[in-house]
């Protein structure tokens, strides 16, 4: 067969511009099975092809940043859990570290390591949820149940540690509130020992599945250049071939103590983002395995007063949340309440790349692309 890049249909007497379909405008969301919450996407379609899109967000806006201005530093900490509610531990870590930076408090090593373990477990949990829902969007009905099975184990560890499964508020400014419970190490080890095999199981279902590959390869391509211009971070950026991870770039918590790789993709398509996240789960497991072997002893809370009054000034601190760079920009006016808390939500900024990714694709790809960005609307809208 002769290969020509573009194919035209030439039927005599037929002008496709005249015969073109009406442009259809379809609303996907806010109440749609696969917009992951209350995202509303307005699609302009030619037939089934997307010729333009607009994300309409804000349905879950709660004014978290405004709330922060009326809470003390400690009081605000639980609120951040409600942003990316599938990765509450990561949110909490970012906030606590930002305030610690503002207070210039040193966190004891034991707290740092426990924080690292919990945050990495949370990353696994978040990626598992992403994998399940993403696969469900593309029509694979089964992986989500396997993913929830493993995620359940992680949530059980969280529940045992701090009494909550979802919005954990696991950390305190300056370190940890609770000493780890008896058997924490065993629980984590048991989970990790089994988990590698479980990832293989998901991959057996998807990675080489012909339909899965066809549905994800070449879909939603984001070049490295575009990704950087759009400020995209996290696995989406790494899948585009940019090897950048805040855990390596600006090590926080105890990440500088552990060996791990940063997986990168090459094509920046949905399949690469899938592979990157799968590999990230393995790397998270690796970090946890190293960390759990050697938790330093010592205090768990640094020297912070009961009343926190950071010196006037400002700080920007960011961590590598499961979705990307989660930054907190906190301005202190020297009182017990932050003057301004700005949260840089990874989902919000990554979602901006949606239009670039979706143009020219079909309706069916829209859900694949929404899924691959891995947004949580609680964080997009705050």
């Amino acid at each position: 067969m002769a290969e020509t890049p573009t194919r035209h249909v030439h039927f005599p007497g037929m002008d496709t511009t005249v015969l073109g379909a009406d442009e259809i405008i379809i609303n996907m969301g806010p109440q749609h099975p696969s917009t992951h919450g209350v995202l509303r996407v307005k699609l302009h379609l030619d037939g089934e092809k997307v010729i333009g899109s607009e994300c309409i967000i804000g349905y879950l806006h709660r004014g978290v940043e405004k709330i922060a201005e009326h809470r003390s530093y400690q009081q605000f900490a639980p609120y951040v859990d409600r942003m990316d509610y599938v990765a509450a531990v990561s949110n909490g870590l970012g906030y606590c570290e930002a305030v610690e930076k503002l207070l210039e408090v040193e966190v004891p090593p034991r707290a740092k390591v426990v924080r690292t373990i919990l945050t990495e477990l949370q990353r696994i949990a978040s990626h598992l949820l992403w994998l399940g829902t993403h696969a469900l969007d593309i029509g694979a009905l089964t992986p989500i149940f396997y993913c929830f099975r493993e995620r359940e184990e992680i949530l059980k560890i969280f529940e045992k540690y701090c009494g909550a499964r979802l919005t954990t508020h696991a950390f305190r400014i300056g370190g940890l509130q609770y000493e780890v419970y008896d058997g924490f190490e065993e629980d984590v080890k048991r989970f990790l020992a089994d988990f590698d095999r479980k990832i293989d199981e998901y991959e057996a279902l998807l990675t080489t599945n012909r339909i899965w590959v066809e549905r994800t390869k070449g879909i939603g391509v984001l070049s490295a250049q575009d990704a950087i211009a759009l400020g995209v971070t996290g696995p989406v950026l790494r899948a585009s071939g940019v090897k950048w991870d805040i855990r390596k770039a600006f090590p926080y918590a105890a990440y500088d103590r552990y060996d791990f790789e940063i997986p990168v993709g090459s094509n920046g398509d949905t399949y690469d983002r899938y592979l990157v996240r799968m590999e990230e789960m393995r790397q998270s497991r690796r970090i946890c395995l190293q960390a759990i072997e050697d938790i330093p002893s010592g205090p768990i809370l640094g020297k912070v007063g009961k009343v926190m009054k950071p010196a006037p000034g400002e700080v920007y601190h960011s961590i590598e949340a499961p979705k990307g760079e989660l930054g907190y920009y906190i301005v202190s006016d020297g009182t017990t309440q932050p003057y301004r808390v700005r949260i840089r939500p990874p989902s919000f900024i990554n979602l901006q790349a949606f239009d670039t990714m979706v143009r020219g694709h079909l309706v069916a790809d829209v859900v694949a692309i929404i899924g691959t960005i891995d947004i949580v609307l609680g964080e997009v809208d705050r």
Binding site: K66, V307, P312, R382
Partner: protein
Amino acid sequence: MADEPTSKQPEKRPETSEGQPPARETSAQKPAEKPAGEKPVPPKKEAPPAWPKPLDNEMVRRFRQRFGDAILDALEDRKQAILVVAAERLREIAEYARDEEQFDMLTDLTAVDWPKREKRFDLVVNLYSFPRNERLRLKAAVGEHDQPPSLAPVWAAANWLERECFDMFGIRFEGHPDLRRILLPDEWVGHPLRKDYDILQQDTAWVRENLGIESGQ
């Protein structure tokens, strides 16, 4: 609710001088559950390094050389570099930062409201450089009716961030391709992250108008 008292009077932030807001009077607005726990201020904070310090390094000198008076100040706050720049020349400086200084990613763009100042908003632009693995913060003072240049032509990421900034503070960016509210409904009145925004009144009005009931606040 213990924290009710604070949320009832949101806009009474005492602020005496510009630039450096001093510590607030301690007892006035404390939450109820911490009555007088303020006295023993932690001793370790007695003599903190006086942030922000002035910053002077190669990069700042290059900026100064290139833009002269437009670089109003260079500061270091908790080991973070801050350039205070003139808002009118923000886009030029941003373009220079991106092209010459390799700050290729716009990490974040936001604002802070200081209602007592002459120019009430601080526009805060956080930049990141992949090759240098460095962050840089640009700050520019913007008056209530000023129209700072939009950074959307420089970084595509600025599009939504500026829309959010407009939504929350009412800062109009000149040259923005599509400056509309992003998180709040289009017909919303006021800009919530301004310090003088009255939450309760807004809430009651909106609920009454749109839901036809009295707000429970």
